[in-house]
C-alpha cells in the first residue's frame, strides 16, 4: 500500500499542483494509535481529497514509489558527480556505456 503522502502528490499533480510542501501546504499526522496517517491540515487552493479520491491514486502512487526506489539505486550506482566528470573527460563512450548498463539493470516500471 502506497504512502499517504505519495497518493496526495499524485492527486495534486492530477489537479494541476506539481509541488506539495508537506511542512506547509499539507500536514499529515499519525498518532501511533494504529489508525495510520491522516490529513491534519490542508492549505492548498484545490479541494482536500476524499478517501475515494485518494484510493483512486493507489496504482499511480505504488508506481511512483517503485520508481523512486529505482532512481535512488541508480544514483548510488552512478557515483559521485565529480568522478563522473573525470570519466567523461577521459572516455565519454565508456562512461555512457556504464550509465546505460546501470539503467538497464534497474528499469523503471
Amino acid at each position: 500500500m502506497a504512502n499517504l503522502s505519495t497518493k496526495i502528490k499524485m492527486y495534486c499533480d492530477a489537479n494541476g499542483v506539481s509541488e506539495v510542501d508537506f511542512l506547509n501546504d499539507v500536514m499529515l499526522q499519525d498518532d501511533s494509535d494504529g489508525n495510520g496517517a491522516y490529513i491534519k491540515e490542508w492549505n492548498l487552493s484545490i479541494s482536500q481529497p476524499t478517501d475515494a479520491q485518494l484510493s483512486a491514486q493507489e496504482t499511480a502512487a505504488n508506481k511512483e514509489e517503485a520508481n523512486a526506489q529505482v532512481r535512488s539505486t541508480r544514483r548510488t550506482a552512478y557515483g559521485d558527480i565529480g568522478e563522473q566528470l573525470d570519466e567523461i573527460y577521459k572516455d565519454i563512450d565508456a562512461w555512457k556505456a556504464r550509465i546505460k548498463s546501470i539503467k538497464d539493470a534497474n528499469p523503471k516500471s
Binding site: 505519495t6 500536514m27 499519525d30 501511533s32 494509535d33 491534519k40 523512486a68 535512488s72 544514483r75
Partner: protein
C-alpha cells in the same frame, strides 16, 4: 526541637552555617517530573508527523506520564515546566535522509519554539544525511489538570521509502518560579 521563629537581629548574615541535619520547608520540589525512553526503532510514515512512543520510564514521580497507550505527560500540578525530547533518525539507506523535524505538542498543537529541523540543501540523495539527531526543549505553562505534552517526529527521505527513529528520550519537570 523544631525552630518556628528566628529573630533576624540574632543572625549575622555574613556568618557561615554548616548544617549537619535536615532542613525542611525551604525551597521547593521540581515535581511532577518524568523521563522516559525507548532504545528500539519506531517506524515513521513518510512525510507525516508521527507521535513518538516512549515505553520505558526512568522515573515518573507523580505517575503523570502514560507510557503504554497515549504517551502523554499530564501533570496534575499547575506551573511552568521544562520539557525536552530527542530522537535519532534512521533513514532506510545511506545518505537517504532529507528532512527531519521533532516537535513538542501541547494539547495537540505544536509549540513552535520547541521545533527542531534538519534539512539537506542538495538535489540528490547523495547529498542527504545518514542520521540526524533532532532535539527540542522549552518552558511551557501547564494548567495542572487537562494540559498534556507529546512529542512528534517527521522524516522525509529522498526515495520516499520511510524510515525509523530510535534512541528516543522525552522528559519534563516543574520549575520553581
Amino acid at each position: 526541637m523544631a525552630i518556628d521563629k528566628i529573630q533576624s537581629e540574632s543572625i549575622n548574615l555574613a556568618d557561615n552555617f554548616a548544617f549537619t541535619g535536615t532542613v525542611t520547608g525551604a525551597g521547593g520540589a521540581n515535581t511532577p517530573a518524568f523521563e522516559a525512553y525507548t532504545t528500539g526503532l519506531q517506524s515513521i510514515t513518510e512525510n507525516s508527523y508521527v507521535k513518538m512512543t516512549f515505553a520505558t520510564e526512568v522515573f515518573d514521580t507523580n505517575n503523570a506520564y502514560d507510557n503504554s497507550s497515549n504517551y502523554r505527560f499530564t501533570p496534575q500540578v499547575a506551573g511552568k515546566y521544562f520539557v525536552y525530547a530527542k530522537g535519532i533518525s534512521d533513514p532506510s539507506a545511506y545518505e537517504n535522509g532529507r528532512t527531519s523535524i521533532l516537535k513538542i505538542y501541547k494539547n495537540g498543537s505544536a509549540i513552535e519554539h520547541t521545533k527542531y529541523d534538519t534539512m539537506t540543501g542538495g538535489n540528490t540523495d547523495s547529498d542527504g544525511f545518514t542520521a540526524s539527531t533532532p532535539s527540542a526543549r522549552g518552558i511551557v505553562d501547564m494548567n495542572g489538570s487537562s494540559d498534556y505534552l507529546e512529542a512528534y517526529f517527521l522524516l522525509n527521505t529522498w526515495n520516499n521509502s520511510g524510515a525509523n527513529v530510535g534512541s528516543k528520550q522525552f522528559g519534563a519537570y516543574r520549575i520553581i518560579t
